[in-house]
Symmetry: C2
Subunit: 404 residues, 2 copies
């Protein structure tokens, strides 16, 4: 399938009919921006993927319920406070904030979605958000995408935005997004949030299917420290203003949309992994020839989260024994003689022993920003890829110092 994709500027307001704004409202003591609003001029279909952590932040609980309706018009995000684990009072306060915000924004409450990221366990200063809302609404514009992308950051060093334009269903369609999450150094649980907007005409089931699949390939495919936040969320809005032939849950139009979405989510996921302070090197772990998708994933996760593999990566040393230890620890019943491990295109272990590899070439591979680690299990036809980060002394220092 030939398919053209053009990167454009504009982030979350690149698609027709979306406005945004970002500003400080006083949650962060530093006075940095901590409140963002995305506004759909025309109500949009909404799909989302949420954290699977059993402890969920208050806004996540609220959003999950609202998502059943599948319509969104306003997305209100604060940083600096996760609005999480603050008991029933905290939840009631969140419901009240939602009611008041919907009134100020003049939207039915079920079309308003709330998101939070930051420290947990501290009551959300909801009054600060309420007081800032009129000014936030006033400030909505197409130019607001950048400030909004800035306002959702916590320990991130850089803004994470992207947008693409492509042809689908006879029209030009735009899809954009923004994300936050800085992996390794994330002091309170490596929360990641992503907000995606498109003007495509697409049915709710197609939208949900495309997002679930895309998350699986992107955000669920990165692992920085194996932690799962209480607030992780990905939201996708589609307002239909591109007037394309409706994208259905299968067929060529769907494929095109899926590819565009995959491109956007993959780029945002990469930005998240790369932004971790203390990250000096990444690894792309590819498991091949597993007997099932689940088995492939278990092996990939074991390797990408192994502290011994992560420190090996940080030190730039091709210590393949550590990779094998992580593979073997999964207890997948492979035949040890049939397992093959390669760093990039250089096999280092096969037929139960080390190969005659060139140590200097391997040293070269370990100098790269992304080190490819290929593990072939010799059992079946299933694969899995994970993008991971190294473990550096800086990660430990930053996370040890961070105060509650």
């Amino acid at each position: 399938m030939s398919f053209e994709l053009r990167t454009v500027s504009g982030g979350v307001t690149a698609a027709k009919g979306f406005l945004a704004c970002g500003m400080p409202c006083g949650i962060k003591r530093t006075g940095r921006p901590d409140l963002a609003l995305i506004w759909a001029e025309r109500p949009a279909r909404a799909a989302a993927v949420f954290t699977r952590n059993r402890f969920r932040a208050h806004p996540v609980r609220l959003d999950m319920a609202r998502l059943r309706q599948g319509v969104a018009q306003a997305v209100l995000i604060n940083s600096g406070n996760a609005n999480c684990l603050t008991g029933r009072r905290g939840y009631r306060r969140t419901l009240l904030l939602s009611k008041r915000a919907a009134k100020i924004l003049k939207v039915p409450e079920y079309r308003l979605f709330l998101f939070s990221t930051g420290v947990i366990g501290i009551p959300l200063p909801a009054d600060k958000i309420e007081m800032a809302l009129p000014e936030l609404v006033e400030g909505l514009s197409r130019e607001g995408a950048g400030p909004a992308a800035q306002a959702i950051l916590t320990t991130d060093r850089v803004r994470k935005e992207i947008a693409v334009r492509f042809k689908a269903g006879g029209r030009t369609v735009t899809l954009g997004g923004m994300a936050k999450g800085s992996g390794m150094i994330q002091p309170n649980m490596a929360t990641m949030l992503a907000f995606l907007t498109t003007d495509a005409v697409i049915g709710l089931s197609a939208l949900r299917k495309a997002l679930a699949e895309s998350c699986r390939r992107s955000f669920n495919h990165i692992s920085v420290d194996g932690q799962m936040s209480t607030n992780d969320s990905v939201l996708l809005l589609a307002n239909g203003l591109a007037l394309n032939r409706a994208v259905r849950p299968a067929g060529r139009d769907f494929e095109v949309f899926q590819r565009a979405l995959d491109f956007v989510t993959a780029r945002l996921a990469e930005m998240i992994v790369s932004d971790g302070e203390g990250v000096t090197r990444l690894m792309k772990v590819c498991v091949r020839r597993a007997a099932s998708p689940d088995e492939a994933e278990r092996v990939a996760l074991s390797v990408v989260n192994s502290p011994l593999v992560k420190t090996m990566l940080s030190g730039g040393d091709p210590n393949w024994g550590r990779v094998l230890q992580a593979v073997g620890a999964t207890r997948v019943p492979f035949a040890p003689d049939k397992v093959k491990v390669s760093f990039d295109s250089h096999p280092v272990f096969a037929k139960g022993e080390r190969t005659r590899y060139s140590r200097s070439k391997l040293k070269g591979v370990f100098k790269r920003r992304i080190v490819p680690i290929l593990i072939e299990l010799g059992r079946g036809k299933y694969s899995c890829e994970k993008l991971g980060a190294d473990l550096s002394p800086l990660y430990v220092r930053v996370n040890a110092r961070y105060g509650t």
Copy 2:
């Protein structure tokens, strides 16, 4: 049950009828001791527990087969080389070493057990071991326990030995042991080995049952970096020279023996965790009121291996949100409002929110060598305890620097 236990010196030769020796044979380039022999003057019953890593070192494969006979007389251990992942040639060479060593030691081959620890993937210099064997046999003595305990170390900083004496079946019984393993800094897979000897009269099934249970409570209850080595082994020999009434797999004698064994393995396990370079603080994670033993263990492991909890411990900061995140990530279907978390005797989280804890008291708890973290799930009656270590910048530095 009242029960008296006296700690005595002598380690692996404290029990009657066991001799040992340790010496350098040239595997370690530093010239430090790297070869040890334990000798049972009278053939002993043998039980063992081995690594569950799918990749197993050559001697482990060999020992597992021999263990079916359940009799041991000689235990030959080398450090400096793991004798692992060196292919079929490596395995054949191990079989040859076993044959030659049995001849020199004058024991039927099935009564000889081999163990290795050190770097993996490098062929074992078996000739060095063979050449040193006559001198090693010559040196066997009751005073050899210390040198043997020294010779099995790799990156450990201290020798790990213990022995106890107690009454069982109408006689005085002695049980001793030695171990190696230094947790965090272990460059090649945190291998742990433990060798236990007793003069108790005890049947093979009772011996196996007691060891399995004891390992579950001690070595399987520590977690330093969540890694499982290719060489992990625990061996227990009983030669019957105490002439006590035979210990059967149940009853009071068994209980006494089990307690003594538990005491010895728990102490050795603690020594292993404490010896990790870079370890500044330990945590004892107790999960209570889980719906099943498996569930309790999953939660305990998730907390004890969480990098965010480990760095919190290293920084000495009571950041309870990180503990909850690790609990929630297991996806055990608990009711969030029923979960309670305490640091030592101070509850920090209950009924869905933080308690009114005293920050200064918590700071005090985090200054201790072992920080107790109690997690109550409010689901059932099952418990699990794990002893873990913090994650310090030194761990990362040592493991990043270590060369293949």
